[in-house]
Amino acid sequence: MNYLDCSFKINGNLKKISIIEDKTLIHVIRDELGLTGTKLGCGLEQCGSCAILIDGEKKLSCNLLAKDYQNCEITTIEGLENKDGLNNVQEAFREFNAAQCGYCTSGIIISITALFDKNKKPSSQEIQNALNGHLCRCGSHSVVLKAIDSLIEN
């Protein structure tokens, strides 16, 4: 098994670790760095629960080779809080109690954060595009959509 010394910029911190060379990014985030807010749902880029931000863009981390993202700014759900506390999207989800089991929620918050970082007044279609590929089995969709709508109103 070949190991590589890598360094990752994650949630504003530089982390140097030695990893199996083909380790996927989600396993580095969860297993090596202990950031378990990013969830593994399918490992097939079909469910959205492993979404993270790479240089501000939403990416699904379950099949990405970790070594390829050493020079990027990686942000997980744990890194969204700012000096004032929760970011606007987290705050809206908290205010609306927009989750049931919560397994899919961090991926959705990541996608909506990426959307609102670029566009404070996204159209319904842009919101739908951002949510495309995020699956929820509990049926929290209606309250999630209410939380997102509140971000536009505010």
Partner: protein, 717 residues
């Protein structure tokens, strides 16, 4: 105001210390035997306790279920969590409060009018002396108190509270910050990650493992675990086990003892050996002769018959099932998201033939799932592996393919419905024959074979036959008995044997299929006589609460003008004819490409006294969304070799792009028993969509899901 019944849990757990822990000053810890599967039960129970004890909601914590310390309230299922645990905690809270006030009055030697009661502390206005629940909990008086099984009207009147509180969910802050810990996130020193190497299908015996592959595992410090035909690989590095799992599948060989059937499952449901039971009014099933179906020659009586079909459905949690187990000092400690935590303790102890006290089950959250998914299996499998590696935690996770292919599905089913309506619009005859595999194969100490890995561990691939359950509304015949006053009914439960796929409890059991079929068929009977869908229902109901729910729905739907080219449908059900009432309206449109867009959904629910209104809304809207997904998209595909629906591309579920606008109304019946709401909406949702679709197409589509393929086939027929 009625007498309040404390519910079944109080029969066994009638001391305040069974439900409350006051050991931390300023904090009330509450025990419950129910688990939080995303239905907000922990927040709801905390709110119930807060409303009555007047301790602030934020100062109330719900203790996670553990078989070591929690009351055994059975399975978290059947919409009974608030009905059972909520009622028990309400009873305990009322008992606590009444006794505490009496104690304070006596010990502070004051009168009722001189007390100030704030956040669990009573203060004498005159002397400023105080006494708190936490003081009271240290007394012998507290320890001696027995919670009554019933409360009379006068006791209840002493307790005032409102039912419209807005609260922050106990779980939400940790969820939105990624700190909420699921069983998948457990980490212990030297913990081993495990994956199971599955054969292609249910009936496969292990033949050979490639020797070169075994060497590669050793070289990479990966452990191979084999017991019978049960094979797993383990490593301290989780990535390594996932990486070698695919390789393992190519290097392990199986003998297929029996193929899956590739016969059309609806043909199998009709043709295979079955046990037929007569279901009587009240919903119980009996081993009695089934009467012949009547026929009607009178021209004034119109009759109709239809066969409704529903495919296999899967639970499909977004996070596959997982469990962590350790065997240490001859004892098991198992972390699990099973809904049957206590049953699991007894099943696992039975398998290992040890004292149940040597098995401790601790609830850790899993991914949302309503029913018997892989949670019990994976906990059992983790314990089997842990037994072989004492003193080390084993974290076993199912893969997406495991969950899709190996979970116990909701059965495919048929409903043969026949009915007759007279000139006065009265339904004078109603026959409904349900055909299905079992909905009840949760493992227990008596049914270890219900663990999917049991046959692989024992190499015993003999098929077991399910036995029909006869209690009211149990399994296949849930909500088969119509709630309406039909003059004569003929209801038959057919438990069909030797069907291809593993099945068990999925949200609502048989009620989704039965209510979807019945409430669609009722519309078809009504349309023969041009009777309005609301009228046909209300005309056959006596129960005022049922009628109020329907009238409320009608009123709410009339506020909104239908969109152009859209069509509406309604349906109604009372879950198990004894729990919550729910009426659903749907407005949808059908594209030229036969895609169904849900525009608006109206839900009116009466769940007795409101425990937590936003929680009820979340449950019924979530239940609608899941049932809409079943109705529109879901179908487990398989062939003679294996399950084809291995992932989310081959098993489509609803996305954010087809979520309707909701108008949800909750009718409060303050003082009435809590009636759970986790399942009541599913049946009426299936039927309301079916009825709206029928209005859109001018023809009844009788096979679920309503995909383009199925609609096309039905239209061509």
């Amino acid at each position: 105001m009625n007498q309040f019944n404390s519910g079944p849990s109080i029969n066994t757990y009638n001391k305040l210390s069974h439900w409350f822990d006051f050991s931390n000053p300023g904090i009330l810890k509450v025990y419950s035997g129910k688990i939080d599967i995303g239905q907000h039960i922990s927040s709801t129970l905390a709110l119930i306790a807060s409303k009555i004890t007047e301790i602030k909601y934020d100062q109330i914590e719900i203790i996670k279920l553990s078989t070591d310390i929690s009351p055994n309230e059975g399975i978290t299922a059947s919409s009974l969590s608030v009905a059972n645990s909520g009622s028990a905690i309400k009873a305990a809270s009322i008992t606590l409060k009444i006794n505490f006030i009496n104690y304070a009055l006596e010990n502070l030697e004051i009168k009722n009018e001189d007390i100030l009661f704030e956040n669990g502390v009573i203060k004498d206005k005159n002397s400023n002396k105080t006494i708190s629940y936490w003081d009271f909990a240290k007394t012998d008086d507290f320890r001696k108190i027995i919670i009554p099984e019933n409360f009379d009207e006068n006791s209840i009147k002493k307790i005032n509270y409102e039912n419209n509180q807005k609260i922050e969910l106990k779980t939400i802050n940790d969820i939105v910050t990624g700190k909420y810990k699921y069983v998948h996130d457990i980490n212990f020193p030297k913990m081993l990650h495990a994956r199971i190497v599955r054969p292609p299908s249910y009936h496969c015996k292990l033949i050979k493992i490639n020797e070169d592959f075994k060497k590669r595992l050793v070289e990479n410090d990966i452990t191979l675990f084999v017991k019978g035909s049960f094979v797993a690989i383990l490593s301290q590095d989780e990535f390594l086990v996932t990486k070698f799992l695919e390789l393992a599948k190519k290097n392990i060989f199986w003998e297929e003892k029996q193929q899956l059937s590739n016969e059309n499952v609806f043909n199998s449901l009709e043709k295979h050996e079955k046990e037929s039971l007569l279901v009587k009014s009240g919903g119980e099933a009996f081993y009695e002769e089934i009467p012949e179906k009547k026929s009607f020659d009178d021209p004034k009586i119109k009759s109709l018959s239809t066969i409704f079909k529903k495919s296999y459905l899967m639970h499909g949690p977004i996070g596959p099932s997982a469990s962590c187990a350790i065997y240490k000092d001859n004892k098991f400690t198992i972390f699990s998201h099973s809904q049957s935590i206590f049953a699991l303790k007894y099943s696992i102890s039975k398998f290992f033939d040890i004292d149940p006290n040597l098995v401790s089950l601790k609830f850790m959250p899993g991914s949302g799932c309503y029913g018997h998914n892989g949670a019990d299996d994976v906990a059992f499998e983790a314990s089997v592996i842990a037994k072989e590696y004492p003193d080390r935690h084993i974290l076993l996770k199912w893969t997406r393919e495991d969950e899709h292919s190996w979970e116990p599905y909701g059965s495919a089913s048929l409903n043969k419905v026949f009915g007759a309506i007279n000139d006065y619009g009265e339904v004078i005859y109603w026959s409904n024959e349900a055909y299905s595999d079992t909905y009840l194969s949760r493992p227990s100490d008596l049914e270890l074979t219900n663990f999917t890995s049991y046959k692989f561990l024992t190499n015993n691939f003999a098929k077991t036959k399910s036995k029909p359950k006869t209690s009211a509304h149990m399994g296949i015949h849930r909500n088969l008995d119509p709630i309406y006053n039909f003059k004569e009914t003929r209801l038959v439960k057919n438990l069909v044997h030797d069907l291809p796929l593993r099945t068990s409890a999925l949200r609502t059991l048989g009620a989704f299929a039965n209510v979807t079929a019945s409430e669609s068929f009722l519309n078809d009977l009504a349309s023969i006589k041009n009777i309005d869908p609301f009228d046909i229902r209300i005309n056959h109901l006596d129960d005022e609460r049922a009628i109020d729910v329907l009238n409320n729905l009608k009123e709410k739907m009339e506020i909104f003008k239908p969109k152009d080219d859209s069509f509406r449908g309604i349906a109604f059900s009372r879950y198990k004819n004894s729990a919550a009432y729910c009426a659903v309206g749907v407005e949808l449109n059908v594209t030229d490409d036969l895609e169904i867009n849900l525009n608006h959904a109206w839900i009116t629910v009466d769940a007795g006294e409101i425990a937590y209104e936003d929680g009820i809304k979340a449950q019924v809207e979530g239940g609608f969304i899941q049932a809409a997904s079943w109705a529109l998209y879901e179908e487990v595909i398989f062939d003679s070799k294996e399950i084809i629906s291995k992932d989310w591309d081959s098993y489509k579920i609803i996305g954010f792009d087809n979520i309707p606008v909701f108008t949800t109304s909750v009718i409060d019946q303050k003082g009435s028993p809590y009636l759970g709401v986790g399942e009541v909406v599913a049946g009426p949702t299936g039927a309301a969509i079916s009825n709206a679709l029928c209005n859109a197409l001018g023809q009844r589509i009788k096979i679920l899901p309503f995909t383009k393929d199925n609609i096309t086939k039905e239209l061509l027929n």
